[in-house]
Symmetry: C2
Subunit: 141 residues, 2 copies
DNA sequence: ATAGAAATGAGAATCTTGATCATCTGAGCG
DNA sequence: CGCTCAGATGATCAAGATTCTCATTTCTAT
């Protein structure tokens, strides 16, 4: 049960929070904007406010349940934290997001930071390109 | 003269554009928000609108004269494009920005992208940490 | 100098996200 | 099982960043 995650985070188990967690777990894209979650909830017949979605997502982020990513600048996307850190590749054409993890890059980042006198705490790495995958519809969402 | 850059970019040579270029060239931090440029212009006695600053910076970006960076999320910063590509380290404490370039990271990025079926066009890499430099005032701007 | 196209400035508009506050809901207790 | 109250919600408002609109002004070419 995910409710244990909520309790562990000191968050009361409420309907909106469970529904939002559910959507994050069942989403195919795994990277959703607050608005997308909001619309999905409305479509499911839930009566929820957009402010609640933002509030809950911010709390989830603080609790380490989700990550907030700025993949294209204006609208943040949220993804369920499933343990492993990873970075992202975004297709300029269709907006598809792939995840990757590269130990060499991670290591070099730490080395570079150290070399510049920084104790690295976090990083944001996003690659942008055209996915040559035949599944790419080659038109933006 | 920088005016040649403007002409080459197909942009009319106007006072606001030259002043903005000047500020970007003479700034010590090399990473300025639109508002910072705007305020500096006002302080110099120029009569300029904030909208013009944003407009001009966007045009400069399209012309390849400046880069727009999202170092901390809410406000974009602009830096003069001086040829070499580089990435950034930001101090969580004092906000200081350092630039770096690491060929290993660049290469691995291309390899990772190719491996995932992407033709990489661009990337954004920002490291966040605490700068142990004694020059760091250890308090946010 | 002049005309026409492009650029500017002021403010309105938009978009995303956070704040406010009255109302409602969930967890513990009798 | 119903009660109570802290905490959560929803509607609206608000803030911050950036873009749009449009009347006026400024370059560039003639």
């Amino acid at each position: 049960m995910e409710t244990s995650n909520l309790k562990k985070a000191g968050l009361k188990v409420t309907l909106p929070r469970m529904k939002i967690l559910e959507i994050l777990e069942n989403s195919e894209t795994r990277h959703l904007t607050a608005e997308a979650i909001y619309r999905e909830l409305l479509d499911s017949g839930e009566e929820i406010g957009l402010a609640t979605v933002y509030r809950v997502l911010t709390q989830f982020e603080a609790a380490g349940l989700v990550c907030r990513l700025h993949l294209e600048g204006n609208q943040a996307v949220f993804e369920l934290e499933r343990g492993g850190h990873h970075d992202h590749i975004v297709c300029n054409q269709c907006g598809r997001v792939e995840e990757f993890f590269d130990e060499t890059i991670e290591r070099r980042q730490r080395e570079v930071a150290q070399h510049h006198g920084f104790a690295i705490k976090d990083h944001a790495l996003v690659l942008y390109g055209d996915c040559t995958d035949s599944a790419c519809p080659h038109r933006p969402a």
